[in-house]
Symmetry: C2
DNA sequence: CGCTAAATGATAGCCTGCTATCAAACCCGT
DNA sequence: ACGGGTTTGATAGCAGGCTATCATTTAGCG
């Protein structure tokens, strides 16, 4: 059976507090604040379990390792900052993707990725 | 200076005739029809040159090797068939991404990826 | 407590996509 | 047709992200 370990708690805490999707390495860094000495293997193991348990959802970005965010009900998309590499959730999906789908194709889902510079990076590098 | 070789011509022909973005391995397969015995290294070399020359544009898909399509003027997006893995260009971008951008962020570009099953795969696997 | 199965950390290994290397083949101006 | 620099094909090597392995530590039931 599943045990409640210091490490897994630290990982869940890190993801919950971040408020944005984190990569495995970001998770490791944040979680080490609560549980020093944690190894990367533990992060990968915990992430796999949490995804299987529907507590985490992967956020895929081309050419980047996946980020993971705590699952939420609302439909939303993401913003990728090319300066710091951080990913943020954004609201307001402009639906209307049926019309884009070619005749005869079955549309099952869609992804929107915004790219640019986040507010924090705009300040530091104007 | 740049020579006009059978292989590079075959690669350009394959990409031009495909009418959709191709991965390096797809390019290799198609180009071998025109130039048997071609090696994968030649494909990677040609693709790099053609991208630099603005004749090809990469199409990035999370967790997949990039596809490459002949550059075109119109703004468009892509459809990924989960059955055959082929990528297709689609029209009708639902603009309106300013409204999605968080306050203070600078939006520079956006990507829309539709996922589902293409017409051909719908027929063969209903 | 004491025990046992679960979890951890370190690290070697795997996988995939891509690049470097180099001898052989080829393009093309002369 | 010649010759020299370009291109090619084969393959070894690299990089990054992830998984497997295994001795050690630990949670938590009894």
């Amino acid at each position: 059976m599943q045990r409640r370990t210091q490490q897994r708690e630290a990982i869940k805490k890190a993801l919950g507090e971040a408020g944005r999707p984190l990569s495995p390495h970001e998770i490791l860094e944040e979680a080490r604040a609560h549980s020093p000495g944690m190894g990367i293997a533990t992060v990968y193991r915990a992430v796999k379990q949490l995804v299987d348990a529907d507590w985490l959802a992967p956020v895929e970005i081309p050419g980047e390792p996946p980020r993971y965010e705590v699952v939420r009900q609302d439909h939303h998309h993401h913003f990728y900052c090319r300066e710091c590499g951080r990913v943020f959730a954004v609201q307001h999906c402009p639906g209307d993707f049926r019309r884009m789908t070619p005749r005869g194709f079955r549309l099952e889902s869609h992804e929107v990725l915004l790219r640019g510079v986040c507010a924090e990076c705009r300040k530091s590098t104007p």
